[in-house]
Subunit: 219 residues, 2 copies
């Protein structure tokens, strides 16, 4: 399966790209600038030379040609980036992973984007795509450290069962990530907002937290 | 320390009352009807006869005379209940634990109360009290099963460091609950809303989930 990543030159996108390529996916890094994508591609392939990563670089339209497309831009560019390649995204599973947060003083606070969540904004921008929200609580930096496992539950929600299924399938390929079906896209709002709490715990306890749910041991 | 619980006849309030009494706190059940509080008190004391629970029953004003007061009413009664005993709550630590949720079809969806969260509504209703938000993600029913531990992280947030400290102190007395400082009261909004995600997981996976953060093993 080819996975395109829009906004792949940021920390979340490049970390996810490396991790997905490390478990065998063909990954296409997409960026507004194809050359910036090439630079990040070269840097990932060099850094993890022993992993033989299959990563291509392209502009956004090229990355959006992939089978499944992840929107990893900053939150305020997510919907417009999806809209700019809506033709390529038509009928496809699109994964939204951005959180809308603002730094107020020393704290991160959640913002309420149009439609209630970033993922809902993306779904509204590409109504013929099957948008799932996922990967909001996985620490981006750790995701890109291929030498170390990232232990986290990954909440997936969507109004399209197919999008939930495909996204859960992708996440389940990554060791130590446990994908969970968190219902309809309405839940993207609390899932995205909760990222502010995780960041706050990171600051307070000088660490990188991730979420694990108890009570699901038999999955 | 005496802890008063307003709305103590509901599942969250009575479960918390039993649990707090079981670890040695003097608990005062408060309800609009003193007689309903007495009925619930008798039922808890009988059910857990071997625990020698120290539980009194009172009306709301009587329970609000305690050292620390928990608001365990349904979310839409939290602010008005606090306001009704504002004189008794003056200068005290008040813990808000309600989540504003609506059942839409088969799913729970978070509501946005005035001021952004239930806890912020309560703080606005009793501006001379020190409101902390806590205990939103602990399964209420399990909390009342004294025979079994409840394993969960408990996010605490407040605009008053003293309220955070006192609340963390209370929660830390309950085995297997781990209190965490989640910053200012602005974070009550995502914490409360996230309860919808937990309920959704409960429905989807036919279980009772609770939250544990990874990355905090040294606390």
């Amino acid at each position: 399966m080819r996975i395109g990543i829009l906004g792949a030159t940021g920390p979340a996108g490049s970390g996810l790209a490396a991790r997905l390529a490390s478990v065998g996916f063909d990954v296409v890094l997409g960026s507004r600038s194809k050359y910036k994508a090439m630079e990040v591609r070269d840097s990932l392939v060099t850094r993890w030379a022993d992993h033989d990563l299959e990563i291509e670089a392209s502009d956004s339209a090229g990355a959006a040609e992939a089978d499944v497309v992840v929107i990893a831009t900053p939150w305020d560019a997510a919907a417009s980036t999806a809209a700019s390649v809506s033709k390529q995204l038509d009928g496809k599973v699109v994964i939204s992973m951005a959180n809308a947060l603002a730094k107020v003083g020393h704290e991160f606070q959640p913002l309420v984007p149009p439609r209630g969540s970033v993922a809902a904004s993306v779904q509204a921008a590409v109504p013929r795509s099957l948008v799932a929200a996922a990967l909001h609580h996985v620490p981006a930096k750790e995701l890109g450290h291929l030498g170390e496992p990232v232990e986290s539950d990954v909440l997936v929600c969507s109004d399209h069962p197919e999008a939930t299924e495909v996204t859960i399938g992708i996440v389940s390929r990554i060791p130590d990530l446990r994908p969970l079906d968190a219902g309809q896209l309405s839940n993207a709002a609390p899932i995205e907002a909760f990222a502010a709490v995780l960041l706050q715990l990171n600051v307070r306890y000088k660490t990188r937290v991730a979420v694990r749910f108890t009570g699901l041991h038999d999955l």
